[in-house]
């Protein structure tokens, strides 16, 4: 009984080696471990091996050949090898350190270094941990192929020409041109539902001058399409320095004698602003405009009126 690993290894070597498509009969004569009898069992074993290779990123190509079987199989070198990267030793070492220093879930960058034949070391304490999401590799592959993507988002099918994948303030975003809205949009990758599908390579065409860096604001209260409102917020002395570091000095309207600061925040998403404000507890207060302050007060009044011990859950 030939080990399946041995059969798979042989199969890869045989399909790579001679660079001409081989019939299943030829393959079975060169690769030990397939059923001796021609027929369905051998065919199924081969199909299963092909799937295993494809799952591992090794593409077996079928092509027409002369002879009774008519179909031959080959692993094309361009599907298996990368063009030489010509990495200098210090560049290899830097990639290795980067992979060891970043936690991204499985499969890791370490697997990638292995495939490139580069040194990979394990066990370093990571410098950065980024959330790993199942949609990210497919989105990245679509970006590289310049392919239009579609996915379900908040119960709606969206078609987007992707421009950038961006990790910002704790979340992964896709930035792109929304084909149905005809405008730039950003999407939280963790809120995409189900699989991302990609159209043909080259199908995505971004409008001239599309600037992905401008599409995603630095602060959460600018993520949204509401009307622009300048909201006046006072932050007390305890948190003034920390909040100024976060929002930037340009938002500073004035400093008070008690050490508090008054900020002018340009807001298009009031819900996001409210969420940020409440994280600061009673260290922050909306001063105006009136309708925004009233909105915060009515939110709080509604909450304060909740029965003390909710019954009948």
């Amino acid at each position: 009984m030939v080990d399946r690993l041995e059969r798979l290894t042989d199969l890869v070597l045989v399909l790579l080696r001679d660079q001409r498509p081989k019939s299943l009969r030829e393959i079975a004569s060169e690769v030990p471990g397939y059923p001796a009898q021609e027929g369905e069992a051998r065919r199924q074993a081969f199909e299963r091996d092909k799937r295993t290779l494809r799952d591992g990123g090794i593409e077996v190509t079928a092509m027409p050949i002369d002879g009774p079987e008519q179909v031959g199989y080959v692993i094309r070198p361009e599907d298996y090898y990368l063009p030489d990267l010509n990495l200098a030793p210090d560049e290899q070492a830097a990639l290795n350190l980067a992979v060891a220093g970043v936690h991204l879930g499985e499969p890791s960058g370490r697997d990638a270094l292995w495939r490139l034949g580069l040194p990979a070391s394990a066990g370093a304490r990571p410098v950065a941990e980024l959330p790993a999401l199942p949609a990210l590799p497919a989105l990245h592959a679509a970006l590289r192929a310049r392919a239009t993507v579609s996915f379900d988002y908040r119960g709606e099918r969206r078609r987007v020409d992707p421009a950038q994948l961006r990790f910002h303030a704790g979340w992964w975003y896709l930035v792109g041109h929304d084909l149905d809205r005809g405008a730039a949009r950003t999407f939280r990758v963790d809120r995409m539902e189900g699989d991302v599908s990609a159209a043909a390579p080259g199908s995505a065409v971004l409008p001239d001058g599309f600037d992905p860096d401008a599409a995603l604001p630095d602060v959460p209260w600018r993520v949204g399409e509401g009307a622009l409102v300048t909201v006046v917020v006072r932050v007390d002395a305890a948190l003034a320095a920390l909040v100024l570091d976060e929002v930037g000095e340009s938002a500073l309207a004035r400093r008070e004698a008690d050490g508090s600061v008054v900020l002018h925040l340009e807001v298009t998403n009031i819900a996001a602003l409210r969420s940020w404000l409440f994280e600061l507890g009673d260290h922050a207060e909306v001063l105006g405009p009136d309708e925004v302050r009233a909105g915060v007060l009515s939110w709080l009044e509604a909450m304060a009126g909740v029965p003390a011990a909710p019954e009948g859950l």
């Binding site: 690993l5 041995e6 798979l8 290894t9 070597l13 295993t52 591992g56 090898y81 990368l82 560049e91 290899q92 990639l95 350190l97 980067a98 220093g101 991204l104 499969p107 960058g109 697997d111 990638a112 270094l113 292995w114 495939r115 490139l116 034949g117 394990a122 410098v127 950065a128 941990e129 980024l130 990210l136 590799p137 990245h140 970006l143 590289r144 192929a145 421009a163 990790f167 910002h168 704790g170 979340w171 963790d190 809120r191 992905p212 948190l239 320095a241 920390l242 570091d245 976060e246 409440f278 994280e279 507890g281 207060e285 001063l287 009044e301 909450m303 304060a304 009126g305 003390a308 859950l313």
Partner: protein
């Protein structure tokens, strides 16, 4: 018989070992075993199997020659097998994102070796400039990282969101890292006499005391310690954290998503059931304010009123503060 990895992953691992060997020619078994995360006997078994593969090849340059003994592997595999292989989408993403993340660490040199390596990778893989990682730079990050690298003790003014208080702490820094968008300092806190985790953007001043750090992480928290919510929320809580169950409207689940200790569960009433660990009533009250009418505390009953109390307290503040 021990459970072994399936044939597909073993194949990929073996091909990785062969690529490496094709380049190196020879390597100690111990080095290969460590580098590729394989037990030595597993590695030797797979290599002996590979030595039988590809035979009989039909010309000498196609011969896979592998000699394995207990100490060392010597291989003559030809240049072809040593070439870089194509990456899967997941691997290509992981590699590019790792490099981008390290280049986003404040102080990284975009024109250094890593920047050049990434440019070469992106030239071959495509996607130049299409992946961006932002890691913010809080005001005191540089001072804290320098002190950590040099092993110097720090005095911090630190705002704790769980206690809603600022305190002065003497800390021996052990490590500084960015976790899901925020920078954290892990260090030995002399005031608490134990390892604590601090969010760097809540440090209002940081100053070296002039003393060397005497604790260097010998009792560092395990890496999975961050799995519970408050570990990424300032101080590492003690075991006294309370497990809280909430029912949350679907469109507000994003607020609690980063804090969950287990996957959210759909409920019969159409809302989502979530579980979090709560170590501070102040912090929990503010979380409930953010959720507003979109959440209800199911358990424990003594926390059911926390949101209402937080709302009343903040309302009192609004009504008493001078309106300007």
């Amino acid at each position: 018989m021990a459970v072994r990895a399936d044939a597909g992953s073993r194949l990929l691992r073996l091909l990785a070992v062969l690529t490496w060997l094709a380049r190196q020619g020879r390597a100690p078994v111990s080095e290969l075993s460590e580098r590729f995360g394989l037990e030595p006997d597993e590695l030797i078994a797979d290599l002996e199997l590979a030595a039988c593969c590809g035979l009989p090849p039909y010309s000498p340059d196609q011969l896979m020659e592998i000699i394995v003994d207990d100490q060392e592997v010597i291989a003559d595999l030809g240049a072809e097998l040593g070439r870089s292989r194509r990456l899967t989408a997941a691997e290509g993403f992981a590699l590019a994102a790792s490099a981008r993340a390290i280049l986003a660490v404040p102080g990284a040199d975009p024109d250094g070796a890593l920047g050049r390596a990434l440019a070469k990778l992106e030239a071959v893989l495509g996607g130049r400039g299409m992946l961006r990682v932002d890691l913010r730079e809080p005001a005191h990050l540089a001072v804290i990282r320098d002190a950590c690298e040099a092993g110097r003790q720090l005095e911090l003014h630190y705002y704790s969101a769980s206690s809603d208080r600022e305190s002065t702490r003497i800390v021996d820094p052990v490590s500084v890292r960015s976790i899901e968008g925020h920078w954290y300092l892990d260090g030995y806190c002399h005031n608490a006499q134990g390892m604590r985790r601090f969010r760097v953007d809540r440090v209002s001043t940081a100053r070296p005391t002039g003393e060397p750090a005497c604790h260097r992480g010998e009792d560092a928290p395990p890496d999975d310690a961050r799995d519970s919510a408050q570990q990424t929320e300032a101080f590492v809580p003690g075991p006294e954290a309370t497990v809280v169950h909430l029912a949350v409207d679907d469109d507000a689940v994003w607020i609690v998503e980063p804090l969950l200790t287990s996957p959210p569960e759909p409920r019969a009433d159409g809302r989502t059931g979530v579980t979090l660990a709560v170590a501070s009533t102040v912090w929990f009250g503010r979380l409930l304010l953010r959720l507003g009418p979109h959440a209800e505390v199911l358990d424990p009953p003594e926390l059911a009123d926390t949101g209402r109390q937080a709302a009343r307290q903040l309302l009192d503040h609004y009504r008493s503060a001078p309106f300007r």
